[in-house]
Subunit: 418 residues, 2 copies
């Protein structure tokens, strides 16, 4: 395991404000790790609404299925949340019937500790796959956590959900909703997608804004499109990826209006701030990609459509040859051409232009006449590399974040047994 | 650059027989490499028919476009071949108008040297992308080669087309066509897909069987499906991948029947042998994957269709996390589940079974009750690893070859500048 903090870690950590109606507590339950916290309990006040987006994997983990069921749930409990239990060290994925039993047991232990219904409990697990999760370990622990839960310690919460992450990831925004001030706090974990000690992407966002579950779901759905869904570390998709949002509605006491329609014009500033929190967290995940030494931003413009631009950008961002070239500080635009070509999307070789960190290296399907290797090589030493591809076909544009592919990635994911 | 021969290289090299009507010669033209051969000229007798399959890249190289045009070509020259010129060191890809001019010039120099029409000349280039290819370097060289060309030296030919390959790749088969003995000789190069010194997949197959161009094309198209098209090193697709086949028809003199329909029943044994040559070459390419230490065979069965099985097998074979686990000699079936899940194809987690080298590790969506870590760990030390996934849904089955992902791959593709 790599223990050094990623060189791309943010240099400043935001001061995380309290969100009324949210209390947090962490503990070391010894699920897999020794000497570190591995369980997070978040308790939300009555009236908290929830929403979520999940992995597209056809083999989702038991907690993902649990959360989906609670959000779909019938009657008055639908989309209501009183507790969130997150554990690291064991993903409770591919554990068969035992896995489903573990989620049911965890939710009932949490419900008892918090004083709510089991279907008001949300669950997320990250860690090894295929190892049965002993949910009885939560017995006692969650009761103690419920007693000690306090509004303040967001950094400890972010730390408890880490696996191969090298730094905790938090983001915050404060914005006006109507005339009242509302707050959005988020935390995330990432690193690879799945790893020996597992590196699923988990993220949890909390706000005191009085938003209905449907509004929150709409915000999430549109918010992830250009943030978490425009992010790739290694093209591998976890069975457990989970992004949950909770709105306590406590800001209503300060005069914040209740929002029940996603099209409500009063939601404009909030939507922007919510998206910014997701974007901040997603970028931190890219900055903590396993073995990453460079943050890579891929911009594709001039595609026939924005969907086509996204596919081409993902093809570039997922190419091992592009990623190893970046690791080698080489502006290897030939590999970018290769990745454009293999995407299967409309592209005309003779209209392609490519630039690295603003320096154009290829133009109209050939090396740029003004290409200066020394200048480009210098630019490639920067910790953040922007690859911009102009296809010259239409107005489709998109942006994707990734990181480079280093020997350290292979070491983290291949050497762990030795 | 890695110079040691891959530990997965075949221990025996076949004795390559002469094919009447094919003469070969190699030279060091100094296109990029120093002190090694980098040009191959193959001269075929009049009446030789050609066929080819090429990269699906939307940004193909100039030689790929040249070959496609010759195979489509109008009138009496269509599908006729008298010469093949292959160079390593420069791919003549993404070189704009200059690239097209270079192919035209190379073909006309070769035509003059061999005494044929330029549209009877086939071209393939492999090497750096975006660097203009100075085709005038072929002037003189090809004339000398035409004079010295001789039927015998297939190993030298295979060596001249290498880039990051660590061993030359040849295969041969002798089979009856009618009552006559006919021969099939093939050579290939591979390694990664594109690399600093380039690692496009090129392959050339020659036979003395009297086959029409259409028959040869049909053999190629069906032959690649489960061989070269079922092979992935790093998911990256070269702009220059080329597989050409040439039939001199000289075996007609020994009584081999002329075959003009792909459905001709006399072609049965030949078809099988032709496919075996392609399979042999494709496996050698996997065995020489950049940095490879393990040959990996992925078998997916029980899928809803064979197309679905191929997609799931490719998702597993291309997963960096599966490939690094194999490099680490870990039977990490959780990552296999992940790769099945991300393929987007029908899969039922609770019906999945997975085995490594015949040892079942997961069954019905959970760890196999008889799982024995020591036994599996021992099996993972083998140089060839078979991952078998049973989906339990239908009769779709497929097989894909790949290799592991090692630090050496990253070094080959990322460290070349330092």
């Amino acid at each position: 395991m790599s223990s050094a903090v990623s060189p791309l870690a943010p240099t400043e950590v935001p001061d995380m404000p309290v969100i009324a109606g949210v209390r947090l507590a962490t503990a070391a339950a010894g699920i897999r790790y020794k000497g570190r916290t591995d369980v997070l309990l978040a308790i939300m006040d009555k009236g908290t609404n929830a929403a979520g987006v999940f992995t597209q994997s056809k083999c989702p983990s038991a907690p993902v299925e649990w959360c989906r069921a609670q959000l779909k749930g019938a009657g008055s409990s639908k989309g209501l949340a009183r507790a969130l239990v997150v554990n690291s060290g064991n993903a409770n994925a591919f554990t068969g019937k035992t896995g489903r039993q573990a989620t049911t047991l965890t939710a009932s232990i949490a419900a008892k500790a918090v004083g709510c219904k089991p279907n008001e409990v949300f669950l997320a697990s990250t860690g090894v796959i295929g190892e049965p999760l002993d949910a009885t370990k939560f017995d006692g622990v969650l009761g103690t956590l419920a007693e000690s839960a306090a509004p303040a310690d967001w950094m400890s919460a972010a730390r408890a959900i880490m696996t191969t992450d090298t730094f905790p990831k938090v983001a915050t925004a404060t914005v006006k909703l109507g005339k009242a001030k509302v707050t959005i706090n988020g935390m995330a974990k990432g690193a690879g997608m799945i790893a020996p000690d597992m590196a699923t992407m988990l993220s949890f966002v909390f706000t005191d804004a009085p938003l209905s579950s449907a509004v929150l779901q709409s915000l999430l759905k549109s918010g992830v499109q250009d943030t978490f869904n425009a992010l790739t570390i290694d093209s591998d998709t976890s069975t457990s990826d989970t992004l949950l949002a909770f709105a306590t509605g406590t800001a209503a006491a300060n005069g914040a209006p209740k929002i029940t329609r996603a099209s409500d014009p009063r939601l404009k500033a909030f939507t922007k701030a919510f998206r910014a929190v997701l974007a901040d967290l997603a970028e931190q995940v890219a900055r903590d990609g396993e073995g990453a030494r460079k943050l890579v931003e891929v911009i594709v413009e001039g595609a026939t459509t924005s969907i086509s631009a996204r596919r081409i950008a993902m093809s570039i961002a997922n190419s091992p040859l592009v990623k190893t070239a970046i690791a080698g500080e080489d502006a290897n635009w030939g590999r970018v051409v290769m990745a454009v070509g293999k995407a299967g999307e409309p592209a005309n070789r003779d209209k392609l232009s490519i630039s690295f960190n603003g320096i154009r290296v290829a133009k109209s399907g050939a090396r740029d006449p003004s290409y200066n290797e020394a200048e480009v090589s210098e630019a490639m030493k920067a910790p953040k590399i922007q690859i911009k591809v102009s296809l010259g076909l239409g107005k489709g544009r998109d942006r994707v974040l990734t990181c480079d592919l280093t020997k350290e990635y292979v070491a983290i994911n291949g050497d762990y047994r030795s």
